[in-house]
Each structure stands twice: as C-alpha cells, then as structure tokens.
C-alpha cells in the first residue's frame, strides 16, 4: 500500500466516526469534552454553529452519530451523544454575547425562503449575519415548520422551539407568516436575488382500502392529525386506536393517542418488527407506555356500521423468496384477522408535494421531484435552491440543517457571481496535545462504565398531559459520567517514520492490537496479516512509509481507543497524539 496521506482532511475526519456520520459534521468529541469541563454554554455554541438546533436535536435527532460511534464497537453501547447535546442545552445558562448580532449593513441582496422549517431557518441564520436581507414565508402562524407541527410536545416542549427559532429571528430575517406561497412564478417576479425552497414533505400517504370513505370521520392521516394536535385543534381521541405504519411518525401518533384518551392503542405494521423504520429507542419508548406492536399484518378493509368505524381486517404475510430470488412479503394463507377500534391513524409514509411550482419554471424528474444538484442544492433554474425534505425526499431535521448550510454557501456564491460548484474546503487544525511527559490535554484514561439511561417521568404522570416532557434529561452528574465514555476519537495517533526505532513498545502496549510492523503488501493481504485481523472494511488502515528494517507500520483504525498509550510508551516521540478539529465551511467562511 502507498503511505497514507494524512494531509487529506478526509483521512482523520473518517476516524472521528461520529462527526463523519453527522450530516452537519458536528465536532462531537470537542463538545463532549466541554460538557465534561462544565462549559455547557461553550458546548452549546459548538453545536449551534454546526447544527443550529442543539436543544431540539438533543431531544429529537435521528442520531446517525450513535450507530457510528467507535465505543459501540469495543463494548455494547455507543456514547449517548444525542442526550449529552441536550444536557449542554439544558445547562447552558446565559450565553453572554456568544450569539452573533444582527448585521445592519445590508449588502444589497435579498433572499426569499419558502417554508419556515429547519432548512430555511438554517439558510437564514447563515446568510443574515453576512448582510443579506432574508424573507421567510410560512403558512402557519409561527416559525419552525415540522419541528413545531409534527413533533409532539411530550418529546419537545414549545419553549425549546421558541427559544431556538428565536435565536435566528433575532438575527433580523423578516417572517411573513400565515401566508401560503401559491406560485413560484409569482415569487420569481418579485425583486429577490435568490429563492430557497424548504417546504418539506408535507403530504401524508393515505390508506386505500374498501370502507375508507365510509368511515372517513374516524380515519386520520398521521402527520395532519399530529399537526392539528400541536396547534390545539384536536384535543381528544377515542378509546380504542389503531396506528398503521412502523416509522417514527407512527410512534409519535400512538404515544400522542395514549395522552389524548386512547387507553387501548396498538401499532400494526406491514413488515416485521425488526425492519420497522422507527428508531429502536422510539419503539422502546412506545412499548414502555403500554403500546403493543403487531407485525406482518397488511390492512385489507375497514369495517363500519352506520358510518361509524368498527375495526380493520388484516391479511397475514411473511417474508418469502420469490423465483427471481428477491425477498418479498407474501400472504401466508392463514385466515384474515380483525382488530376492533374506534379510530385509525394512518402513518404509512410521507410524500413531497409541489402544486405551487409551475413546471415550466424548473425541471422535475419522472418521480415528480425537482432536479437538484447534490452538492450545490441548485435547481435547473439558477436562482432557485432547494433543501431539507423538499430536495431529496423525507429525511430528518439534521439533514435539513446540513442541506441548509450547503444551500446558503451556494446562494452566497451565486449572489456574488461565483461558480457554485467550487465548494469551499473545510477548516482543519491538527495540533499536538502533549503537555508534559505522559501528560495530555485530554483525559486519556478509558472509563469502563456502561451507557447511562436517561431518567423518565413516571408513566402515569407522563400520560396525564401531552405537555409533560417524558424524558427528564441527564442531570450534571449523569452527564459528566456519560462524557467519560467518549473515546476522544478526534485526538489522533500521528506516526513519524524518521523518529521510529522499531522497538515494538507501541505494539506491546496497545490494548486493542491495532498496531503491526510488517512487510508491506496490497490492502486485502495486509488486512489478514496484522496482529489482529482488520475485518471491518469500512475502517481504514494507516500505513507508514518504509522503515529502516524495510517493514512498514500498519495501524487498523477500527477499534483504537485513542488512549495514547502508544505515544506514552514510545521512547522517541514517533507517536504523537494530535487533536484534529474540522469545521465545515459555512456561507461567507472562505472568501
């Protein structure tokens, strides 16, 4: 193998698994260390700069960082990254001037954002401080988009939304609320220099089975119903409720039902339990509240009497491999099963909907989605940019934020007449953490503790009101203990060939057998010849140049604990622990 190019920002970035997995590339270990030091406001700002909604995401994020966390590969559970983020938000106290102030020098450019959800708010936050005039349109009476309409209050209190939306509106964008944009053509006629579309995936997929129309009064589309609950239009549901679907919206629907009068609530899902789209913890939370989940059942028809819903018939299915070798859900032939109920909530998916965009203004693909540049977020109309669910279909808040940052970079480049395809490189620093002999600026003693559970409100109390936040969050002690589980993967093991005397000290001390000195070879061969086989192919090998004996140093990054013992045992300083800090460049950051 060629020696690893550690000058490339991607190499060490990939080693920081959590940051690499985060769509917004939040420097996770950096803020976790700040929490450990009690610097909650600083930790909050690291998050705020990168993911804009730390308090909201600390409660609702889909957490792509946690399955990626290296800790999950050396023991059972990853670090509770998401809930630590919330701990930073909960404990931050006064921000004391850390927030940017509104820019009163208008740069002469005006940007319109359609929709006041996370993507548009991110665009506004990135552009307003640069001197842009930003105008945000939304059909609801408050900003926040799906954060406010679809996430139930028992998971995300309204004050948190108000606070974090407020930090952005304080930067000076104009909010035009209670106003639905009905024509992109009309918007383009206004004197806007660029238009950002962040309208989400606002249409819930409906159920199409016999009896649907007759029993319509008691069958509701999940996201619309959640929105009605959030805005106080719906306050009750009947006693027996069936929720159809296996995603996070289904979990929100069933748990909301339990709080609005449903005492016999079931989730019924077409696929198997394991293949459900809902995050594992959301399924756990639902079951914890006494909601059973039935799987492998496909709705066939709705039963009703005198216009009153009485139940749903389901066909039993199972995974079967067809003649074409593909696995599909096929009927088992067992008799259909009837479940009685008074209300049905349909949460079987969401779709994009662009009735307000004239097709001659910009190009759409055959699936009815706008054609959008994957890195630029620019549509075929150079003045129009997309982000969030409206760009590439339904995802999560953190993706909307990441899209918003990139779209803001594009809009800034576009408004200044520059090429939007030339993306600014990230800001990277790599600095030794050595403070003295065997002393580092980070705590390199590895905690063996198991993951802390977030304390919950007692169930009866939690179910008594939709406004009771069920998760109580980590207190300072729990948060500190959990921070100690972080392996500080951003503190990198950096190897110097000229300094190495090949004494093997690092090989002997490495607790996870990451380091090998051996003859060079091709990667597949090398992976089998290491002190411990490198079987995780998603993780890179760090290969040095040739050493005096002709061998090379090969380090498998997979389960490195970043404990620094290789560097402590190295007599010549050939190993050094260096902190890699990467910040993605946001709009205006690389001029």
């Amino acid at each position: 193998m060629e020696p690893t190019n550690i000058e490339s920002p991607d190499y060490f970035h990939k080693v920081v698994d959590c940051q690499w997995a985060c769509p917004a590339h939040t420097p996770v270990p950096e803020y976790i260390r700040m929490i450990a030091q009690g610097r909650y406001a600083d930790a909050y700002m690291v998050n705020w700069k990168s993911n804009v909604f730390p308090g909201i995401l600390g409660r609702t994020c889909d957490r792509p960082c946690e399955p990626a966390c290296r800790r999950g590969r050396v023991e059972d559970e990853p670090v509770a990254i998401c809930r630590l983020k919330r701990a930073a938000a909960d404990n931050k106290g006064e921000l004391n001037g850390r927030m940017p102030t509104p820019n009163t020098n208008w740069n002469g450019k005006t940007v319109a954002c359609v929709g006041a959800g996370p993507a548009s708010l991110t665009v506004a936050r990135d552009l307003a401080p640069l001197g842009y005039r930003v105008v945000i349109y939304d059909r609801e009476h408050k900003g926040g988009g799906m954060i406010r309409s679809q996430i139930p209050r028992f998971r995300l209190p309204e004050e948190v939304i108000d606070e974090e939306v407020g930090y952005i509106t304080a930067l000076g964008p104009e909010l035009v609320l209670n106003q639905e944009v009905t024509s992109l053509q009309g918007m383009l006629a206004e004197p806007y220099d660029a238009i950002f579309v962040g309208t989400g995936a606002p249409r819930g997929r409906d159920l199409d089975v016999p009896g649907r129309a007759e029993a319509a009064a008691n069958i509701h589309v999940g996201i619309d119903w959640l929105s009605s609950v959030s805005f106080g239009h719906v306050e009750k549901i009947c006693r027996r409720v069936i929720v159809l679907g296996g995603g996070n919206t289904a979990m929100d629907c069933c748990r909301t039902s339990r709080r609005l009068g449903g005492d016999d609530v079931k989730v019924i899902v077409r696929s198997g339990f394991d293949e459900m789209k809902a995050s594992p913890w959301e399924k756990e939370d639902a079951m914890h509240e006494g909601i059973p989940i039935f799987n492998f059942l496909v709705p066939r028809s709705v039963t009703h009497e005198a216009g009153q819903l009485t139940g749903v018939w389901f066909e039993k299915v199972a995974w079967q491999t067809g003649e074409d070798g593909r696995r599909a859900l096929k009927p088992t032939g067992e008799p259909d099963q009837h479940f009685e109920c008074d209300d049905v909530l349909v949460a079987i998916g969401q779709e994009n909907s662009f009735p307000w965009i004239e097709r001659e203004v910009l190009d759409f693909d055959k699936w009815g989605m706008p054609v959008v540049g994957e890195t630029t977020f620019q549509s075929s109309n150079p003045k129009v940019f997309f982000g969030g669910d409206s760009a590439f279909g339904p995802k999560n808040i953190i993706w909307a934020v990441a899209h918003g940052h990139e779209a803001a970079v594009s809009i800034d480049l576009y408004c200044r007449g520059q090429d939007v395809t030339l993306r600014p490189p990230p800001g990277v620093t790599l600095a030794s953490q050595k403070m003295g002999i065997h002393e580092w600026s980070y705590d390199n003693d590895i905690s063996l503790d198991e993951r802390r559970k977030v304390p919950l409100m007692e169930t009866t109390l939690a179910l008594s009101s939709i406004k009771n936040e069920v998760e109580l969050g980590f207190d300072e002690h729990l948060a500190y203990a959990e921070t100690q589980r972080c392996l500080n993967c951003d503190v990198q093991t950096v190897f110097s060939v000229p300094a190495c005397i090949e004494c093997d000290a690092c090989v002997d001390i490495c607790p996870t057998d990451c380091i090998t000195f051996t003859a060079n070879g091709e990667e597949p061969d090398l992976r089998t010849r290491l002190k411990a086989p490198a079987i995780n192919f998603t993780q890179d090998l760090y290969v040095s140049g040739a050493l005096p004996t002709g061998r090379v140093m090969v380090k498998d990054e997979d389960v490195c604990l970043h404990c620094g013992l290789c560097a402590e045992r190295c007599p010549t300083g050939a190993w050094d622990m260096q902190k890699f800090l990467l910040n993605t460049t946001q709009a205006g950051g690389c001029r």
Binding site: R73, V74, E75, H438, N444, D445, I446, L448, I501, E502, C503, D504, A505, V507, D508, I509, P511, T512, D513, C514, A532, P533, I535, P548, T549, V559, L561, C563, L565, E568, R569, C570, P571, T572
Partner: protein, 351 residues
C-alpha cells in the same frame, strides 16, 4: 512507562485458548520501566508464549533477582506464582522451589548484572545441575538502574553513552551455558518476537535447564552509536542460524519445507521442534560444534541467534537425585512416616 493501566477493552477478535484464557489474561500490572525498554517486549513475548502453550497461569512460577529485568515478572502473568528474590540468588530459590514442587513450570527471569556478576556462581550451578527450568537473561549490557555503567556482558571496545571505551572482556553467557551442560541454549533479540516467542515456548516445554540469552536494548543508556547492544547494531549483525516452529502433541504440520532445509527434534513431552535452517550445516544437536561456531562468528563480530543447542533426551536434577515423583506438598502422613515395618525393611536391606 505510563501511569495508566492498559484498558480492559480488547479487540473483538480476541479468542480464548484451550484452557479458556485470552492473551490479555496472561498480562500483569502496568510496567514502570522506561518507555521503549526491550524488557517490555520480552514480557509481551512471554505472555504470547504462555497463551499459545495453553498454560494455566496457576501452574507456573516466575522467579527473579534484582534489577530492571527482575522487576518484569510483575508485568506479566499476574495470576501466576511469583518470588522476587535477593540479588543474584534467584537460581537457588528456584532450585529449592523446583525440588519441593516439581509439578509447576519454572521460569527464572534475570539480567546481565544479576546473572553475570553478583549471581554468576548461582547461575553456573543451577545450569550444571540441570534444574528443570526456563532461565531467561534479559541482556542489555549496562546497569540501567544505576545510570548505565558497563555490565559484565558489555563487549570489549564498545562505548558507553558518554563515550567511555570498555576495556574489560565480556562474559558470553551462551558459551558459559553450553560449557556448563545446559540442555537447551538459545539466543534471541527483544526486537524480533517472531524468533523469540517460539524459543520461549520450546524452552518452557523442555525438560532440563533451558537457557535463553535475550539481547534487550536499554533505551535510556545503551542504544547509541558505539554500543553493541543497540537496536541498530543487533539488527545489522544478527546472524540467525535457524527459525523455529513449535508443534505441540499431534497437531498437523501445515507448513511445507523443501527437503533438507529443516531439522526436526522431538522433546521428552512429545513437543516437536521444527527448525528451518538459515545457516547451512548448522546442527543444533552438536554441542561441541555449536561452541566452535559461536566463537568463530563472535570473532567475526556477528551476533549468532536462534536455537543453538538442544538435547531432546535430557535428564533433570530430579532424575539425578531419584526424588519422589509426587510434589512434597501432596505427600501425606502415611507417605512420610511409613512405619516400623518399612524401617525394618530398610535396615534389613543394609545388613
């Protein structure tokens, strides 16, 4: 050294051996030696060898004297028996322990000061008596604990860290061991575990006095130009006579060697030592020629390593003394006081 103990987390592929222990279970406490010390590599090689031999940790006793080398038994085999004895007196304590309980595996760990100076007599007598043990000398050519004075194994003409030239002749412990009748003699290098680990395994399975001289560079005081115990010097002058594969029991021989390129030696316990020849015509079962070869190569400035001599039919001190096959702590009152009838028989036999 580090102040932090090695974290318990291990690589997910780490497997237990036949007696249910992982390699990590054979480790000891955190080492207090200097960063990069060759002795730590030897400790790691001992850990690896004991793991691969499926040794139960409580069936092994590790004994040492005084010095950097003799501190190391604290850093490996944390679940084994240990005795950190008086300076240079490890061999006699080991001999006593061995006579009392012959069922344990004995590992003596010593240094060039402990064995070639203050303990030279003890070393010599334990070897010539054929005590069943593995005797490892971690040989760095200096007194590391007292700031790097020349030891008795420093080569004549080599230089200290400050540039002083050594005018005393060196004691070659390998030649001594051969001359004293050791039945397993090897030399190796802390920087070459692929050579060292099989040698330790073979020695631990050898019946009789097995001696391994292991050159172990002292990073702090003897790893400079002018030293003949430095990483660079040993790597440049290392002349390995063979490479060893150790086969235990009837495990199939998987590697293929061309004819005439290997020598196979079967030890008492059935261990098969397969030696891949590196020096043509080197016969590790010929003590006299081995001694000549060593002198010749040493005169040429080379450091000969590998399994230099093995007597697969060796006998040990217990055989010579005709001692009971039962460890003394397992002998009961009836065994020890057989009664007047037995005494009469003995008396009768002497009449």
């Amino acid at each position: 050294m580090t102040y932090i103990a090695k974290p318990k987390f291990a690589h997910p592929s780490l497997q237990p051996n036949a007696v249910g222990y992982t390699r990590r279970d054979y480790e000891g406490r955190v080492s207090t030696l200097c960063a990069g010390c060759g002795h730590d590599s030897i400790s790691a090689a001992i850990v690896q060898a004991c793991f691969e031999l499926d040794l139960e940790p409580h069936r092994l006793a590790k004994l040492s004297g005084i010095g950097c080398s003799s501190k190391t038994p604290d850093y490996f085999l944390g679940a084994s028996h240990g005795f950190n004895t008086v300076h240079g007196r490890m061999p006699s304590v080991l001999t006593g322990a061995n006579l009392a309980n012959r069922s344990l595996v004995y590992l003596g760990v010593s240094g060039d000061g402990d064995s070639a100076s203050i303990g030279l007599g003890q070393f010599a007598h334990s070897i010539r008596r054929g005590v069943n043990m593995t005797y490892i000398v971690e040989n760095n050519g200096v007194y590391g604990l007292t700031k790097g004075q020349f030891s008795a194994t420093s080569d004549k003409g080599s230089k200290s860290k400050k540039g002083v030239v050594n005018h005393d002749s060196a004691i070659d412990m390998v030649s001594l061991a051969l001359q004293l009748g050791a039945t397993f003699v090897a030399r190796s290098f802390s920087g070459d575990k692929t050579q060292l680990v099989p040698l330790i395994k073979a020695a631990l399975r050898h019946k009789g006095a097995a001696f391994i001289d292991t050159i172990s560079p002292c990073i702090a005081f003897n790893n400079h130009a002018g030293s003949t115990k430095s990483f660079d010097w040993v790597r440049e002058h290392n002349e390995a006579v063979n490479r060893l594969d150790v086969m235990i029991g009837r495990s199939p021989i998987t590697a293929e060697y061309s004819e005439g390129s290997t020598i196979q030696v079967e030890q008492h316990d059935g261990t098969v030592l397969t030696l891949r020849k590196l020096a043509a015509d080197y016969d590790p079962t010929d003590r006299v020629r081995a001694m000549g070869f060593l002198q010749e190569r040493a005169a040429a400035g080379e450091v000969v390593t590998g399994l230099l001599y093995v007597d697969p039919e060796a006998e040990d001190l217990h055989d010579a003394l005709g001692t009971t096959s039962t460890p003394l702590n397992e002998l009961n009152t009836a065994d020890l006081t057989p009664g007047s009838a037995a005494l009469s028989d003995i008396n009768a036999s002497l009449r």
